[in-house]
Symmetry: C2
Subunit: 219 residues, 2 copies
């Protein structure tokens, strides 16, 4: 598949702008676990996901994590080019959660495009507004949704993403997604198990009652 | 003071665009407590603060509140024009926290400008990135900062904003800023009082040991 098909406002660009993108966008394959932004891998540029799955998260001084959002096929990651976004004043880490294929548009190229194309500039706003909305959603969940419902929702979503009821997840991994200590995850999962919603074994959580887990997540 | 002085990319607009803004921007005085966006006052347009103070907050289904950010002189409020921002998918309420003066740029006018001026489009991105950063900061505070430190920081900031050590704030108002139940605020304030940091009386919190309160807020 060609780059043009992954870049949503392609048809609104001039031929010269299209040429600039085509010549400079790099196709990359990255392995599961690769660090794409944050720490030693800073501000490479815009990422366009062709296949796979990326995870954007923040890390506290003590090393605690919380997942901010995920990116899938055709999603565009703006914050990996945060150096060209004035006023972005937070550190985010982006890693490949599965083996992935991406296009990388170098930061200076994207910046040049933003400064000359009103379509690119407005599209950039839209993408940012989308991520902003995801963070507001997360904030509301954290503030106003109890942990049992957040955990139920996470397990239901993972099951859809992975296409299986038997999830390969340690309690620590779940804690890192939800921004919660491992012990809290363990306690709640044991409660879920006693209620017949899941079955636990080393490194896996098997969903045994999907309908009730879904019902709990929607409350 | 004229509108042009409050609109940061004014000099990058064409004369026609400047004219469009000058003819359509409305000067408004609003009283403390006025609802500017959310509920019955939806999507009036961009707000440019000339004087006063606005508060942007979200409300849960149960009526709990949390302050997302504040706006002061020369700040621009984008989310009051959320109907023209594609992908903004959350409800925010904006109210005047003090008597305020504002310019209002009607949504359709701002939308037209965004679509023709690359400067306005990029400036809009920047403002959004700034608010996005504030929400990320808030999320980190909520996730990783204990409530005593958040409360200490809030009191220190209020004291600076109001220019007094004697704050007219009920425990419920503080709870609505910090997204916390009134009882939790009361308990912590009583602890602060027992530690000699504040003195409590009906409807006021008086800071009695600024240096130690500041020290606590920075930890």
């Amino acid at each position: 598949m060609e780059f043009a098909e992954y870049f949503p406002v392609w048809n609104k660009l001039t031929e010269e702008e299209q040429g600039l993108l085509r010549e400079n966008a790099l196709f990359r394959r990255v392995e599961k676990g690769s660090l794409l932004h944050g720490g030693s891998a800073d501000c490479q540029g815009l990422l366009l996901v062709v296949s796979g799955q990326l995870r954007a998260y923040i890390v506290s001084e003590e090393g605690r994590e919380i997942t901010i959002y995920r990116l899938f096929e055709r999603d565009l990651c703006l914050l990996s080019a945060s150096c060209i976004m004035q006023n972005i004043q937070f550190e985010i880490t982006i890693e490949a959660e599965k083996d992935s294929e991406l296009y990388v548009v170098p930061s200076r190229i994207y910046k040049a495009l933003m400064e000359r194309s009103v379509s690119v500039a407005n599209y950039t706003s839209q993408v940012m507004a989308g991520r902003f909305s995801e963070v507001m959603w997360l904030l509301e969940q954290i503030m106003w949704k109890s942990f049992d419902k957040r955990l139920a929702e996470f397990l239901v979503n993972e099951s859809v993403l992975e296409g299986t009821l038997c999830l390969k997840l340690t309690h620590e991994m779940i804690g890192n997604h939800l921004g919660t200590a491992r012990e809290v995850v363990t306690r709640m999962l044991r409660y879920f198990q006693s209620e017949g919603l899941v079955r636990l074994s080393r490194g896996t959580v098997e969903i045994t009652d999907s309908p009730r887990l879904e019902e709990l997540s929607r409350k």
